[in-house]
Symmetry: C2
Subunit: 145 residues, 2 copies
DNA sequence: TATTGTTATACTCTATAACTATA
DNA sequence: TATAGTTATAGAGTATAACAATA
């Protein structure tokens, strides 16, 4: 492989980028009926994963900047899916919690996103799909917190 | 999986995104000594893959817009790595070819990028790494042209 | 009329720096 | 002084529309 030139479309960077684009093309339309984007669903998933978390904790877990999280929570709050309240004991922090509507949307949109993932992985055998996901988990380190 | 909630950091979208980020963090510094970015290396690889190609053909093969390719070729031309010339027979087209310096940079930078990919895949067994790449190729359709 | 390259423009995602309020 | 949230700003990356040259 050191002497033979690989095509650009065979490089890992190309494949990862276009895999992501392709998954996004399935996920976007699947989530549209629920009025949220894939990123917003990820925020909802993060918030429900660990119990009442501050914005910054959620940001670290998602791997986005805290300044980015502000806008994401803003949008979800405008849609009535989450609520902010100052944390008692340390009022610098905002605790972000899902509303009832947020939990409902998460349930239904999460199911739609899971279906999009299944569709994305459909070209692989079930065993290959499972190992593909498992390899990704091995390659991507879990978030710090 | 339909009833049990997955964590956001387990979703395929999260894993693909962060796999890409992690690879980019290895590839970027590896290419810095050669004065090119990962995207620019991809363009060089694309141009060398199929013989003298127009900008638009290269753009399709890379999966980027033709307006994006203008800037990429501009940068590579400024660095003396590629040269544009009108195609004889159809002067609307620009044929983009690697210069001697471009071929030399491609050889050395391509080797560095391959090493970065090996480093990225190192947490996987050789067999798992091979199947991971193969699965990606199955999931990502080859470019139109 | 259609196509290639180009420019201008805008939109998304992201990060950095500076501000505020709390600690 | 340090931290959490916020705002403003700037930088990538991308796409759309419009234009010039050519077919």
């Amino acid at each position: 492989m050191s002497s033979r030139l690989r095509e650009a479309t065979s490089s890992l960077a190309y494949l990862l980028k276009h895999a992501q684009l392709q998954l996004a093309e399935l996920t976007g339309p699947a989530l549209a009926p629920f009025g949220i984007t894939g990123r917003e669903l990820a925020v909802l998933l993060t918030l429900t994963g660990c119990e009442p978390a501050s914005q910054q904790q959620a940001a670290q877990r998602l791997g986005v900047d805290r300044t980015t999280m502000v806008g994401l929570v803003d949008a979800l709050e405008d849609k009535g899916l989450v609520a902010r309240r100052p944390q008692e004991g340390d009022r610098r922090r905002n605790v972000v919690e899902l509303t009832e509507a947020g939990r409902d949307t998460l349930r239904r949109a999460g199911s739609a996103a899971a279906e999009a993932e299944r569709q994305f992985l459909a070209p692989l055998s079930p065993a290959a799909a499972a190992q593909f996901t498992e390899s990704l988990r091995t390659l991507v380190p879990p978030p710090a917190t």
